[in-house]
């Protein structure tokens, strides 16, 4: 139940976050000076918090989307399996988010 509405909430959140991707790409098209400004804003703690929320939303929506596709294919729709796969989606999304940011910080240093 909670996971189902979360799929929608993360979907809407990803759409809002999609503006960030467009902004980043447009800044790249505008030129080096503006791109540096956008990179700096995204590296600010507010920017990082938004990106953290966006990455978790993305991994959650991705994993839960695969869960939905399995259901559409007729697999795992019984209650115990759906409960377990829901837990797997939740834990998996957190693991992937932490892994992603650990990789980012391993490359960046800070």
């Amino acid at each position: 139940m909670l996971l189902s509405i979360t799929h929608r909430i993360t979907g809407v959140g990803l759409a809002v976050g999609g503006v960030l991707i467009v902004w980043w790409l447009m800044a790249l098209a505008v030129g080096p000076a503006y791109f540096a400004v956008v990179q700096k804003l995204l590296a600010h703690w507010v920017g990082r918090l938004l990106l953290l929320g966006w990455t978790w939303s993305m991994f959650y929506h991705l994993l839960n989307g695969i869960r939905h596709l399995c259901w559409d294919a007729g697999w795992g729709f019984d209650i115990p399996t759906a409960r377990n796969s829901g837990l797997l989606v939740l834990v998996g999304s957190i693991v992937l988010t932490v892994g992603f940011w650990m990789a980012i910080y391993a490359v960046r240093g800070v």
Binding site: R8, G11, V12, L14, A15, G18, V19, I21, V22, L25, M26, L28, A29, G31, P32, F35, A36, T55, M58, L62, G65, I66, H68, L69, D72, F100, A103, I104, V107, R108, G109
Partner: protein, 125 residues
């Protein structure tokens, strides 16, 4: 007894006269988006310390530009399909619903075109 022909019933296009097309395309785009998003996540990690020149060179590569365009087209298409359902479910009243739907579709289209144009400009630049 229904006066509808068996063919009309079998077509079963429903209230939106659109059948399962919306549902199907939402699934189709989601299947494409799963690997594309993992590629994007991997790319962001590899570009974590990159400056303007490095990111430009990265997007200049035909493979990255192609995948980025594929991601943009699929993502914004999937986005407007999903937001459409959310608006249909939560915005009530025909006028408000349609105005919101049309505005959302226009905004998402503009975002997608802006992103695609930017990728092409960098890729050809």
């Amino acid at each position: 007894m229904s006066l509808r022909s068996p063919l009309a019933r079998a077509r079963g296009l429903g209230a939106a006269h659109n059948g399962t097309h919306h549902w199907w395309v939402q699934r189709l785009t989601s299947i494409a988006l799963a690997p594309l998003m993992l590629w994007l996540a991997y790319s962001f990690v590899s570009l974590a310390t990159a400056d303007y020149a490095t990111v430009s060179a990265w997007l200049h590569s035909p493979i990255n530009a192609t995948l980025m365009l594929a991601l943009i087209v699929t993502m914004f298409h999937h986005m407007q399909l999903g937001l459409q359902v959310v608006i249909e479910d939560y915005i009530h009243g025909a006028a408000r619903k349609f105005v919101t739907l049309i505005a959302m579709k226009f905004v998402v289209a503009l975002l997608g075109i802006g992103a695609a144009f930017s990728v092409l400009k960098v890729a050809f630049g």
